[in-house]
Amino acid sequence: MQVTLKIQRYNPEKDKAPWWGEYKIEAEPTDRLLDALNYVKWHLDGTLTYRRSCAHGICGSDAMQINGANRLACKVLLRNLGQVITVEPLRGYKVIKDLLVDMDAFLARYRSMKPFLITHSPQPEKERLQSPEDRERFDDTTKCILCGCCTSGCPSFWANGEYVGPAAIVNAHRFLFDSRDEGTVERIELLNTVDGVWRCRTIFNCVEACPREINVTRAIGEVKKAILMQKV
């Protein structure tokens, strides 16, 4: 099939403003959008720039707006995208070059949420015990690949860039609801701020955007409830 890719291009080293590059290519309906981008880069214009690595939706490198929706380029096939496909960088982050955006602030917010197990009691010689039911409570939020789709799709984040954003809260949830974790008090302190969970207005864009199908809004709701009850 023939498809036309309309890609937003912008290289601050030489462009004054973003512009649209149009590329007509011959492709298989079963090709990933990433394959099509690679085709353009490898055969038509070597300067086209984006991140990618695993090519099957696990590493979180290639999040972008595809026909207006936040998606991983390696996880959508051309046959689901129509004849003319628009590709733009994720919204809400500074564009560095073409589809590649500055994720530093996003990743720094994730790291600021103490995303590691906090324990005070002594470690057993073997494993800590955890029932399958307790393990299940935070299963959904262990799936996050830090692609940025959710935070970039969040109107509360567009309105206020200081909001820690859904991805950081998802990762806080992962530890808050882990029965082995003993950091509840300090975690709640981090989340219970104006730029913490309370900026979430339950708009659900994040749920639609998550390529790992994490129920982000539910996780945030559980965190809010934990703060109000002062326990998990």
């Binding site: 290289n11 099957h56 197990l117 324990t119 029932s131």
Partner: protein, 574 residues
């Protein structure tokens, strides 16, 4: 620009992060990675990490050790395998203490499942040894190790691509890297450098490996006089999605999925009458190639079917959810009702940078180390995988030997000083970048890479013989000449990914040459290396490791004996 550290680690997958955690707090350490750490390929591992915890039935590290050695067709160094299997146990407990969300047994212990080649009582029957976190074990290992690094305030240089190793007077003096964001060249002056840069599967067309797995670590040290060990042993995993190579874990066949040819025949009955579809990876991939060659691929093409239609929705949705999702997303078919097109996919480099049991890189068959230089993970060869790796053993390898190299380096940097930097330390790396950026050639990198990948698939993958390997060797010379004329359109400095893809291609060309020449010389068949003109294992002449050096006169070889302690080589039957 020169920065100085006690130790620098190249790579932020499981091996690099584990090493970093040993050095953090004891030494001034930096981790350089061309990808943001959590994007490393360790994150894609699905099945599990092997350790004889005995949570779901009796198990012992000695049994694990035996399976590892037999799986590797006796090319495994047995002292290394012993360490691997002993230390696997405490490593898994460490991961749990750090918060890794393992799946649990009803009593709340770490859950374990069976995996290909892992047995009880030295081969009697399958054992539950693979510790897992749903089908996201690698993702959780990578996340957990990175989270510990955040906690311990490890210093990262994210999106720095290492181009060169610095050696002065036979000692390691540091590395040179390019910062992707600015295009600047940085010299890292270090007492110790640990390479943990992962594999090189992208030299083949069909691979489970990420675009970024281009063997940079191996190629960089090779160019600096360090040998590469056992590169001719490259594992092809039987079940990659047709054309794409995306892995469908062994767990599918563990749950009863069946391989079929165009006649719908369960052809493994003819190749492995007792183990059938769960025969080891090397054997199964060879059987599949035979079927395709003899015209029994689906529609006469080069793929076969993985039939899961009889497993039922319950098994697919509950036990194989990721695989089911991959099949739906990428093939648009429902594995409940249709068989899945698959073909063997280039998966894992058994070979790599030779090291001793503490991750120190060795320069020859007498195990002479290069002071300050270490390697761990898929980039290295200890050798615990020998001629064919068992499933779940790479995740053990990267963590056990990542940790040992980190610990040794921590001691080393206390006792030693910096080796002097060579004059103009970044001369070679800057030269490489400038040569590519200013090239006026007309060759597209993609055209060279396409030929490399297609021809390696055809001539140097599952089946090899003198004719195919000689032809490949000639082809590589031609490709190298073409590479001298490669063009890079992007002349910019920031995130010049086109230029770095050219750098990566050059690395792949170097390593393909080492693989092909090593395979040509090794006139026997062992594990993943199968020579049709020498179809049997030859212990009298070839029970030894290859050390390949690359210099002016091409690739030259030396050989190193295999360390045998507990288990004498036997015929490998399953």
């Amino acid at each position: 620009m020169v920065q100085r550290y006690d130790a620098v680690i190249v790579g932020a997958g499981g091996a690099g992060l584990m090493a970093a955690l040993q050095l953090a707090g004891h030494a001034n350490v930096a981790v350089l990675s061309k990808l943001y750490p959590t994007r490393s390929h360790t994150g894609t591992a699905q099945g599990g990490i092997g350790a004889a915890l005995g949570n779901e039935g009796e198990d012992h590290w000695e049994w694990h050790m035996f399976d590892t050695i037999k799986g590797g067709d006796y090319l495994v160094d047995q002292d290394a395998a012993e360490i691997l299997c002993r230390e696997a146990v405490e490593t898994v407990y460490d991961l749990e203490h750090w918060g890794l969300p393992f799946s649990r047994t009803p009593e709340g212990k770490i859950a374990q499942r069976p995996f290909g080649g892992h047995t009880k009582e030295y081969g009697k029957s399958p054992v539950r040894r693979a510790c897992y976190a749903a089908d996201r074990t690698g993702h959780m290992i990578l996340q957990t190790c990175y989270q510990q690094c955040i906690k311990n305030q490890v210093h990262f240089y994210d999106e720095y691509h290492v181009l060169d190793l610095l050696v002065s007077d036979g000692r390691c003096a540091g590395v040179v890297a390019i910062c992707l964001a600015t295009g600047e060249i940085h010299t890292f002056h270090a007492k110790a450098v640990i390479f943990a840069a992962g594999g090189c599967g992208r030299m083949f067309r069909v691979t489970s490996n990420a675009h970024s797995l281009t063997g940079d670590g191996m190629a960089v040290v090779l160019r600096n006089g360090v040998p590469i060990e056992d590169m001719e042993f490259f594992q092809f995993h039987p079940t990659g999605i047709y054309k794409m190579g995306i892995l469908l874990s062994e767990a599918a066949r563990g749950e009863g999925a069946i391989l079929r040819n165009k006649d719908g025949e369960r052809f493994m009955e003819r190749y492995a009458p007792s183990l059938l579809d769960l025969a080891p990876r090397d054997l199964t991939s060879r059987a599949m190639y035979r079927e395709i060659r003899e015209g029994r691929g689906i529609g006469g093409k080069n793929y076969l079917h993985l039939d899961m239609t009889h497993l039922g929705a319950e098994v697919l949705d509950k036990k194989l959810p990721d695989i089911t999702e991959f099949v739906r997303t990428y093939l648009g078919i429902d594995p409940r009702t249709e068989p899945v097109p698959i073909q063997p996919t280039a998966h894992y480099a058994m070979g790599g940078i030779p090291t001793d049991l503490d991750g120190r890189v060795i320069m020859d068959e007498r195990n002479t180390p290069m002071p300050g230089l270490y390697a761990a993970g898929e980039v290295a060869c200890v050798s615990v995988h020998g001629a064919n790796r068992l499933g779940t053993n790479s995740l053990v390898d990267i963590l056990v030997f990542g940790r040992r190299s980190g610990r040794h380096a921590a001691r080393f940097v206390q006792e030693s000083d910096w080796a002097p930097l060579p004059p103009n330390p970044d001369e070679w790396a800057s030269g490489q970048i400038n040569r590519l950026r200013n090239s006026i050639g007309q060759e597209r990198a993609v055209d060279i890479r396409d030929v490399l990948q297609d021809e390696m698939m055809e001539k140097a993958s599952v089946f090899r013989d003198a004719a195919s390997l000689t032809a490949m060797s000639e082809k590589l010379k031609e490709l190298r000449q073409r590479f001298a004329n490669v063009k890079v359109e992007d002349k910019g400095t920031r995130y010049n990914t086109e230029l770095l893809e050219a750098v990566e291609l050059e690395n792949l060309l170097d390593l393909a040459e080492v693989l092909v020449e090593g395979a040509l010389v090794r006139q026997e068949s062992r594990g993943a290396h199968f020579r049709e003109d020498f179809p049997t294992r030859d212990d009298a002449n070839w029970l030894k490791h290859t050390l390949a050096y690359r210099g002016e006169k091409g690739v030259t070889f030396r050989y190193k004996p295999v360390t045998i302690t507990k288990f004498q080589p036997q015929e490998r039957k399953y």
